[in-house]
């Protein structure tokens, strides 16, 4: 009865294939949900960084830094990346006093922006690569989710992290003098 085996074979294959499709659909959903969550988190941390920068700017009475922070806070979606890059550049240019609590908050929020950006980029890439898979395109498994977008900003880390520098220097006075002035 070769015909019956054919039928069994086709049924089994169809079952395996639909299980695979179900599993893939789950992956696609998970990746898109995560990319969306990461985007919200990045947005929140960028706002926090801008707010912290505005506080520091007010204390230092630095007009340039303050306006960069305001622009980042108020930016329209299309101009956001440029505004955040400007703020990063401003922050990297100023010398920060590690003893000031507002500066410590700013350093902490900046670190979180670095992490959030990195995770967001990774998750968007994962989601986009899932969208490119043959079966995902063929069966339009990603049609319910908007296409995740990269948030294209320069590496937002502050190079001379005042906290990290302030701790280790004071042991040998001869060596310690130079870096202390540099900070």
């Amino acid at each position: 009865m070769p015909r019956m085996w054919w039928v069994v074979g086709v049924v089994v294959l169809a079952a395996i294939f639909s299980a695979y499709l179900g599993w893939t659909a789950q992956r696609v959903e998970r990746l898109h949900t995560r990319a969306r969550s990461a985007e919200r988190a990045l947005d929140a941390h960028l706002l926090r960084r801008a707010a912290a920068a505005a506080v520091v700017a007010e204390r230092r009475e630095s007009v340039e830094l303050y306006s960069a922070a305001r622009l980042a806070l108020d930016a329209e979606p299309g101009e956001r990346e440029t505004a955040e890059n400007d703020l990063t550049r401003q922050l990297q240019a100023v010398t920060l006093d590690p003893a000031d609590p507002a500066v410590r908050t700013l350093a902490a929020t900046s670190r979180r922006v670095v992490l959030a950006r990195q995770v967001h980029t990774d998750l968007v890439r994962d989601a986009l690569s899932a969208r490119r898979r043959v079966f995902v395109r063929l069966f339009r498994l990603a049609r319910r989710y908007p296409r995740p977008q990269y948030f294209d900003i320069v590496e937002p880390s502050l190079p001379a992290l005042p906290l990290a520098r302030a701790v280790p220097t004071p042991a040998s006075p001869a060596e310690g003098a130079l870096p202390a002035q540099a900070v």
Partner: protein, 378 residues
């Protein structure tokens, strides 16, 4: 925060990854978090109470070393049960792409997963080839940490995806306050080596030859060696008349390691490759030993470009001998190196490392379920 940590290697055998996990867990516990560590181990082994054993470990040669790991259906069941019972806010896996508990945990994980990469494998063609197969597991990892720049590079180039670089921590207090072994370092000068002296990449033969030629000119010079290995194998290659000037401690506990590092004038790291970070160097720095190390990229970075420890060209036997002679003759230079080392090691202390890891946890949680945390975790 409820944190679940998975170790690929057994705690029966000391190793960089295992120590990293224990120190991180203790620092996190001290900061007030709940921590559970799943590790391959026999049930009755004497483990810290935050460690959950996942069954017997089997030795497996991996990346040039021998790792003790567990893998298979029994382990899978235990991993699943541990995950279900733990209800962790975040799962932190180490070396996720070793065939081990860690990989099983990643596959079974549902929530946020943070992965730490320790090894800098320079040739990982196998890993690149397996990338398609690994993709579903990779996707489960939300945030990645690399313990060194090299480990980060490997992660970025071979697996795709970025990684945050957070160096290993060192329990500075523990090392700085250790008491030297009785009779050490003594007046004639003492040099130390810690590691698997039979493993070629650790470079012990270089140090052995240097010691033999130095010891002939300096009647008081002694050497302290610690690490896994056979006593006879160590002494066989050392001339008989020098045997009483070499002390072999065998495999040492963490506490004895700190004492050992406090017992020498110069700590030598003659490694010829394969080191991604140089954990032992930060420990020697914390103990206040003057350091002579080969100029591997990883060592150069840890030693602040050579200020916190003297560097010699990798594999250069004559240069090592010369450098050791200079250091032994110059106590002022040793003091200078050691005080620079103590200053530089502050950046590697565990509490500061644990806080940075917590920031990564928070980021991973935020990216998984959309919660955004209000403040720093502290």
């Amino acid at each position: 925060m409820r944190i679940g940590i998975v170790s690929p290697y057994s705690f029966d055998v000391p190793g960089g990854v295992q120590n990293h996990i224990m120190d991180l867990s203790e620092a996190l516990l001290e900061l007030g978090h709940e921590v559970s560590v799943l590790a391959p181990a026999d049930d009755d082994a004497g483990l810290p109470e935050y460690v959950v054993p996942a069954g017997r470990a089997v030795p497996l040669p991996y990346n040039g070393s021998v790792a003790r790991i567990s893998f298979g259906p029994v382990s899978t069941a235990r991993v699943r049960r541990w995950l279900r019972r733990g209800e962790f806010d975040v799962l932190h896996v180490h070396e996720p792409f070793t065939p081990s508990l860690t990989f099983l945990a990643v596959l079974s994980a549902r929530g946020p997963v943070v992965a730490t990469f320790h090894t800098a494998m320079t040739r990982s063609r196998a890993l690149s080839a397996a990338q398609n197969f690994l993709q579903p597991a990779m996707e489960k990892i939300t945030a990645r940490i690399a313990v060194s720049e090299l480990a980060r590079k490997v992660q970025v180039e071979h697996l795709g995806g970025g990684a945050v670089e957070i160096p290993n921590g060192v329990a500075v207090r523990k090392f700085a306050s250790a008491v030297p072994l009785p009779g050490w370092p003594g007046d004639g000068g003492a040099i130390g080596f810690l590691g698997r002296f039979t493993e070629p990449r650790k470079g012990f033969p270089l140090l052995r030859t240097a010691f033999v030629s130095l010891a002939r000119e300096r009647p008081g010079l002694r050497m302290l060696v610690a690490g896994p290995g056979d006593r006879d194998e160590l002494y066989d290659d050392i001339p008989k008349e020098l045997h009483d000037r070499v002390e072999f401690l065998g495999l040492v506990s963490e506490a004895d390691k700190a004492r050992m590092l406090r017992s020498v004038d110069v700590y030598v790291a003659p490694n010829t490759g394969g080191e991604s970070f140089g954990m032992i160097l930060t420990e020697a720095m914390a103990a206040g030993a003057a350091i002579a190390a080969s100029d591997l990229d990883a060592f150069r970075r840890v030693l602040d470009g050579g200020r916190a420890g003297a560097l010699f060209p990798n594999g250069d036997q004559a240069a090592l001998t010369r450098l050791l002679g200079e250091l032994l003759d110059d106590p002022a230079r040793r003091t200078d190196l050691s005080s620079c080392a103590r200053a530089a090691v502050g950046a590697f202390d565990w509490p500061s490392v644990a806080n940075r890891v917590l920031e990564v946890y928070a980021t991973a949680i935020e990216a998984t379920d959309g919660r955004v945390f209000d403040d720093e975790w502290s």
